[in-house]
Structures are given as C-alpha cells and as structure tokens.
C-alpha cells in the first residue's frame, strides 16, 4: 500500500517531508533536469542579505571523513536579485519556497523581511542566526538567548509570513535558544546548521580554508543533529525541520521519530543528485506502516 507522503510543517502543508536545505541547492535550478525544485516538499534558497555579499576567498570547501567543511561566507546577490530573478521562476514550481535570511545587524534582517513582505512566492522565512562563517554575522545572535529573542522579535514585528528560526549546534544549551525563539514569536525551528570545524594542510603548514574555520556538514554530523532535534522537541512545542547528514529514507524517519515534521537534505545531494528521488520512493514503504507520520514517537 502506498500512501500520500504529505505532512504538515506548522502552517505549511508539504507534499512530502523532504526539504532542500539552504546553500546546497542554490535557487533550485542548477541540478535540472536530474533533480528539480518540485521533487521536494519545500526548498530553502541560499542565505539572502539586504545588499549583495561577495563571500569568502577560496579555498572555500574541503572534504572530511563522511562530510565536508564549507566557508562560503554567505555569498549572495542580495534580496533584490532574489526578487527579480529567482522568485518569479520559483513561483511557477509546485513546491514550497522558503527564503533563508542573513544579516550582520538586526536591521539588516528586518530589511530583508520587509522587502519580502507579502511576496506571494515566499511561503516562509528562515532566519539563519547560526551561520558560523561571517565574523560579524549570524553567530552572535544564535549563541545568546537574549540576542535571539531580540532578533526574532524584530523580524516578527514586520512579517506575517511563517517564521522559521534556524539554530546552531555550536552552543552549550540549544534548548535555551529554542525557547527564546519560541517566546519571541517564531512559528517553527530548523536545526541544525553546520558544526564549526577546520582542516589543516600539513604540506602548506596552514589551514586549508582561507577563512581558517568552516562549517561541517554531511553524514558525520547526523548523530549531533538527531540529538539536537530530540532535545529541542522536548523543550518547545514548535514544529521542527530536522536536518544534518540525511542520506536515506531511514534517516528521514529517524528525524521524524526524534520530533521533526520536515526533514532537510543538503550535502548528500552533492554525492548523489538522484538521492532525493530514491528517498521519496523509499519513504512510501515507511509511510505505509503508519496511520500518520510518527512525529516525535521516539520520545515515548
């Protein structure tokens, strides 16, 4: 028996639980026709700032065991190009569009949210309060409950769109930040962003990445991501998008059991762009076991 894979992620009805995460899938079109935006329940576009950001000098990526480090530095053309160039094309696709928002100050986040206010192609905003790559950027918000509250509250004031807050794992108490986001009016949480890491080139005797440190993603971080989702599920009642190292339908189900109602995939697509199609196929068999997706059932 195959069932409809649809799942409710807060106020968003997703046709399937799989989400293309921010920064790994561009604006959705680069893998076509192998992989298309409409293959996913939702796609999150690259972190978007109020003005264009150039990003970090190369090298920006390096492979690590079962994962990779990136220090892209949130290169993006800015919200205006997003609105003019990408959103119209994305609007034509049958999927949910979530815009990942970045900024160096509260005002910059607010400005992006204001620009996107009421845009019909935008189904939700995802506040990246966690990207470890930009010195003066997101990191500081996401590691302090009070700063998180301040930021989320300010963006909440200017947008009616569903507001997802993306949490960093590089922190002592992720549940505390989750509660701060909840009390400031977030509609949902997504987690995790990358783990702060680095690699050293022993021949050159220096860090591989020009930015010295970068964000670790891929299967290597999956155990940390599952733990964070499990902890946050127990600490708040907000819907959760779980992500970090997903590479199979079994992983998707593990995140759902831990408490996620949407599950993101990023790095694993680099290895195999056919994986989302495979996962969605394999999810049918899991879905058939249940009356409804067993969100959070591992807590019982």
């Amino acid at each position: 028996m195959t069932r409809n894979l649809a799942i409710q992620f807060g106020s968003l009805a997703l046709k399937n639980p799989l989400v293309a995460v921010s920064g790994t899938f561009g604006y959705g079109f680069d893998y076509e026709p192998v992989l298309c935006p409409e293959d996913f329940g939702a796609i999150v576009v690259k972190g978007t700032s109020i003005t264009p950001w150039p990003g970090n000098p190369p090298p920006r990526i390096v492979e690590t065991p079962s994962g990779m480090l990136n220090a892209i530095g949130l290169e993006n053309p800015g919200v205006d190009v997003l609105i003019e160039e990408y959103l119209p094309r994305l609007a034509a696709r049958d999927t949910r569009i979530i815009v990942n928002v970045v900024g160096k100050t509260v005002d910059e986040y607010v400005a992006v949210a204001e620009r996107l206010r009421g845009h019909e192609a935008v189904d939700a905003l995802e506040l990246n309060i966690s990207c470890p790559n930009v010195d003066a950027g997101g990191m500081s918000f996401g590691t302090s409950p009070s700063e998180t509250e301040r930021l989320v509250g300010a963006v909440r004031d200017v947008t009616g769109a569903p507001l997802i807050v993306k949490l960093t794992p590089n922190i002592t108490d992720i549940a505390g930040i989750a509660r701060a986001a909840e009390s400031a009016g977030a509609d949902a949480l997504s987690l995790i962003n990358t783990l702060l890491g680095m690699a050293i080139d022993v021949e050159a005797e220096k860090p591989v990445l020009a930015n010295v440190v970068g964000g670790l993603s891929g299967p290597a971080i999956r155990p940390v991501a599952l733990r964070c989702v499990y902890q946050v599920r127990a600490a708040t009642s907000l819907p959760i998008m779980g992500l970090g190292g997903v590479e199979s339908a079994q992983d998707v189900l593990a995140f759902i059991l831990a408490g996620a109602s949407a599950v993101g995939i990023g790095t694993a697509i680099f290895r195999d762009p056919r994986l989302p199609e495979q996962i969605i196929h394999d999810l049918q068999a899991y879905r058939a076991r249940y009356d409804a997706w067993p969100v959070g059932r591992a807590h019982q």
Binding site: D30, E32, T51, P54, G55, I61, N70
Partner: protein, 269 residues
C-alpha cells in the same frame, strides 16, 4: 526527469572498457549508452564508486569522446584517495558520472592559428579539443610540458591531431629541457603567430600564459581547477576571484562559470 537532450545534465554509468597506463596517469575508457554530446573543456563529476570514502565526487575533464562508438576517455593522475581508487578500477567496473558540466573552450573567435598548451595532466581536455578543431578544419599547434617524461599526458593522441607539436620537460627527460611556457614565448615571436591560446594546467603555468598573451595581444583561454562539492553551480564552493570585482560580486564559479575562462577575467595569483 523531464529532459533527455544529449547536452542536458544527466547522471549515467560508464562501464570501464580499458584502463591503461599513460606515464604516471591512467587512461580510462568508458563505454556509455546514453545520448551524450559534450563540448571540449567540459568535465564530469565522478563518484568514487562503491565506497563512501571519499564522500564527494571528483571533477575530471572529458579527455576524448568517440560519438560513434560511445566511448569516453578520461585521463586520471592518481594524487589522492579518490583518483587512486579510480585509477585502480578493473575493466567491467561501473563508473557513476554526473555531466557534462561547465562551459567548454570557445568554439569561435579562435582565429586561423589556435595554439593549445597543456601542463602535466592538464593535457587531458586538449585531446578532445584538438579533435574538434581538426574536424572544424583548424588543426592546432600543440605544446605540452611536464616536470618529467612520466608526467606528460596525452602525447600520442595529441601528436596524431596537431599540425605542429612541441614537448618540454623540466628535467629534459623528453623534448626540450625547460618549461613549456619558455617554448611558448619563443613560438609567439615566430610567424604565423598564434591567434589564440587554449590552455590547461597548473595555476602558475596559466598565469605565465596570461602574461605572454597580454604581451603579444593574443586572447588566452584557460581551464581552471578548484575543489568542488556540487559541480553544478549550486554551492558556490569553487570560487575564483574576478579581475574586475564589483561591490557585491568578487568571485566566479569554476564549475558553472568555467572551468574555461578568458584568462583576462580571473585572478590567477
């Protein structure tokens, strides 16, 4: 999948038909069955099959493509985990490829005397390029160089296609002793002067070529390398600095904006 045009992005398996030594490198011949129409200079993003270590794909130039027989050639220099595993594959093995990727060498505006320069394994994409130029009636001059004879790649294939060929090794173990760019400098002062230079090789070689091209007012195109994750333009991992950055944009993507660039556009230091 909605599109199966031969030049569209696809994931396909090649069955390894041959794996032979070519100096320090291996020539891998893959039999493929899907429609495929790559442009010289494009590359494939190849999964190191079976194992998940290394996790990411590896970019490899399309060294040659025999449309009639469906045979694709790769030249692989084993330098690390991924290339060593690929180089050791046995005939019959399936190689998982994503491609064709990137923008190849320009097809027009090359003039009557295109000159191809390959450094080490960088000669790989020049074979398919030379073949195309021959088909267009523009047999190129080809210069290849390497640190030593073992590091030369594609010599035989290129010799069969070139209108004129020079070889240089730093230790003199084959051809002229010295850098291939030294031979190039000399060649640029001889008639008929090259009308364009199409190159692939180490960053330093490309920088020298860029300078030579500037001095002689010859347009130069080079195929660059950078570590890659997606290979398709989505992750912005393979940045190369632009010569003329703007406030908001300082980098191009090697995978999607290249790997072949007009060398005037990119910073090579």
């Amino acid at each position: 999948m909605t599109c199966t045009a031969a030049d569209a992005l696809q994931v396909f398996s090649g069955r390894l038909a041959q794996n032979v030594a070519e100096g320090s490198a291996r020539r891998l011949v893959l039999a493929i069955e899907t429609a495929f129409a790559p442009v010289p200079g494009q590359f494939l993003h190849v999964a190191v099959s079976g194992s998940k270590e290394p996790y990411l794909r590896r970019p490899l130039s399309i060294a040659d493509w025999d449309h009639r027989r469906g045979l694709l050639e790769l030249l692989v220099l084993p330098v690390g985990k991924g290339t060593r595993t690929l180089a050791a594959l046995q005939p019959g093995a399936l190689v998982d490829c994503l491609g064709p990727l990137g923008n190849g060498f320009p097809r027009c505006g090359l003039g009557a005397n295109p000159l191809l320069v390959g450094g080490g394994i960088g000669s790989a994409p020049l074979i398919y390029l030379a073949r195309q130029l021959v088909n267009q009636g523009q047999p190129p001059v080809v210069f290849i160089g390497a640190s030593n004879a073992d590091r030369l790649a594609g010599e035989q294939s290129l010799a069969a296609l070139a209108s004129e060929m020079a070889i240089a090794t730093e230790d003199g173990s084959r051809g002229y002793r010295g850098m291939v760019t030294e031979a190039l400098v000399q060649r640029c002062s001889i008639r008929p002067k090259p009308t364009s230079i199409l190159a692939c090789g180490p960053r330093g070689m490309l920088a020298t070529i860029k300078a030579i091209g500037a001095a002689h007012a010859i347009p130069c195109y080079g195929s660059l390398e950078e570590h890659m994750a997606c290979g398709v333009g989505a992750c912005l991992g393979c940045a190369i600095p632009m010569v003329a950055p703007t406030d908001g944009k300082k980098y191009l993507r090697v995978c999607a904006d290249g790997p072949v660039f007009d060398l005037e556009e990119v910073v090579l230091s």
